[in-house]
Amino acid sequence: MTDVTVKELAPADRSAGKRATGKIVFYATVIFMCVVLVLPVIAFFINAFAFRWFYPQLIPDEWSLQAWQRLGLLPPPGQFSIENLFAQWASVPDVVRALGLSLWIGFLVTGVSIVIGMPAARALGMYSFRGKRLIEFIIITPTIVPPIAFSLGLNINFIRWDLALEAAGINLGLSGSVLGVSIVHLVPVMPYVVLTLSGVFANYNADFEAQARTLGAGPFRTFWHVTFPAILPGLFVACLFAFLVSWSQYLLTFLIGQGRVITLPILLFSAAGSGNNAVIAALSLIFIAPAVLILLVSSRYLSGESGAVGGFGRV
């Protein structure tokens, strides 16, 4: 806009014009910001479907599914049919195996951490007792101390414990097993479960439980009909975070799994060195799909003050 046009406008119009310009600048800034922040995801989509993507083309001339075929998720080119797709998946390609294992460990860790963490969260949220600060300190410390500081010692400890157990005739095999990996995932997961749920229990009124008990409900019925519905939203968030933290573990799985527990992050990390960008991008998309789904589902429960948000810092 030149000076002349501005001068020609009446004062009211001028401010309207200014407001319109301000609006355009605002929207341009917001759109630019969003595009920049989402660049990695855009790059994954282009790379995962690009074919013969010559420099400096920004958008490839040809698209293809070769990365997905290479990962064994789709039948070879030209042979697409529903039967072939089933056969392909039935042969359990590495990716499907890793995906299944990641999901299994994630569900297991979530379930166990909730069962173990809920009573602890209740104790911390509803009662005051001697040594409470110390217990809180113990539970929070793993969220601050970098995982590398304890995972090296844990790696050796698991091997030692395995040897000791073997000598006692118990062949548990913690090191290099899914069981061992699931157990160590509890360390980064437990603090967030307890923090989230203790926040829920801090605002929870136990009088309703007493009422149910006086009316003759047993402990299980009281939990199912009174406690459970009351804490459900917080419980839901805690579950999502527990799963997400377990889902994204690389270092612990790598050190404790000894290369024998191949979850998605392990697969992705080894692919990262391969230089095949299409395959790396396809794997990344598979890896982030559940995470983005969790964000969609949980975003309305999220607020900065909830202990759970800290969980995102560790993903």
Binding site: F26, V30, M33, C34, L37, V38, L39, P40, V41, I42, A43, N47, Y55, P56, L58, I116, G117, P119, A120, R122, A123, L124, F129, I138, T141, P142, I144, V145, P146, I148, A149, F150, S151, L152, G153, L154, N155, I156, N157, I183, V184, V187, M190, L244, Y250, L268, F269, A272, N277, A281, S284, A291, V292, I294, S299, G304, G310, F312, G313, V315
Partner: protein
């Protein structure tokens, strides 16, 4: 009743036990090993040899100090840049506008995406044949990938910082947005009616109000960026390399004597992070007393 006495310990027991045994037990055992305790090799004498070797020996010292410097630089730069950008974006997104929900969703999109994936995304975006290089090429700013600056796997840690900034903007963002929402705009309106301009309202009203939440988030981010392995492993170079990468390098060395040095490095990382957290807690406790 005796049951009542044991109620709370029983409720807390399993959680505390898991963390004590797996976390503190391993931390303690790692510390013992860093002091040279390796019974399977016949070493039961404790000494600081591994620490001295890592920090002061001719073989490792230059690698260690360069790595320490890089680690501090990356952690500070990532924390500061992502906090500043997150505040700016959160303030921008505060007003109501068409498409706000979509913008907020995209703002938070990187939040649940694992660091490992963002690190890989940075390669696809910022490498010399990546997305941005292609944009520059299409615009005619450069004519070959080699003219694009080296932003990933560079020796000053730019790629690592970029990955953390992408990731932590979303983390700071959700915290700052929540604080702003709970504060409302009354304080700023009051300041405005007293004649404060936009900058003064931000500097003397908004910033002090979001500062406590921002500081505790910064501590989480700093500790995380200081001690994470995957991101510098994917986006860093061999020399200088960040301490967590160096620690694991030593630890995975087939020579079992290097293991103590790896443990020593991991303990050094933990001690630095803990000291910084304690300083932060001391400062914030003092500010609260004063306030």
């Amino acid at each position: 009743m005796s049951w009542e006495r044991w109620r709370i310990p029983l409720m807390l027991g399993p959680t505390v036990l898991i963390i004590l045994v797996l976390f503190f037990g391993s931390l303690g055992f790692g510390f013992l090993q860093s002091l040279g305790f390796q019974p399977q090799l016949g070493n039961t004498e404790l000494n600081f040899d591994a620490y001295i070797s890592v920090m002061f020996s001719e073989e490792h010292s230059s690698r260690f100090w360069a790595g320490l410097l890089l680690t501090f630089w990356v952690a500070f730069a990532s924390t500061f840049i992502s906090a500043a950008l997150a505040i700016a974006i959160a303030l921008l997104l505060r007003r109501t506008f068409f498409g706000k929900r979509l913008a907020v969703f995209l703002f938070q999109l990187n939040l649940p995406i694992p660091h490992l994936v963002i690190a890989i995304g940075m390669i696809l975006v910022f490498s010399q044949s990546g997305l941005l290089s292609r944009v520059a090429g299409e615009l005619g700013l450069i004519s070959s990938p080699r003219e694009f600056p080296v932003l990933v796997r560079d020796s000053s840690g730019i790629g690592i910082i970029l990955a953390y900034v992408w990731k932590e903007i979303a983390f700071f963002g959700i915290i700052v947005m929540a604080i702003l929402q709970s504060l409302g705009e009354d304080y700023e309106a009051a300041a405005q009616s007293l004649g404060a301009n936009r900058w003064q309202r931000f500097r003397y009203v908004t910033l002090p109000l979001i500062m406590p939440g921002l500081m505790s988030a910064s501590i989480i981010v700093f500790a995380f960026t200081f001690g994470t392995y995957e991101v510098p492993r994917i986006l860093g170079v061999r020399h200088p390399e960040m301490l967590p990468v160096m620690a694991l390098d030593f630890f995975l060395n087939p020579d079992l004597n290097a293991r103590a040095e790896g443990m020593a490095l991991s303990i050094i990382i933990a001690v630095i992070v803990l000291i910084l957290v304690l300083i932060y807690m001391y400062i914030s406790a003092r500010t609260i007393r004063r306030g």
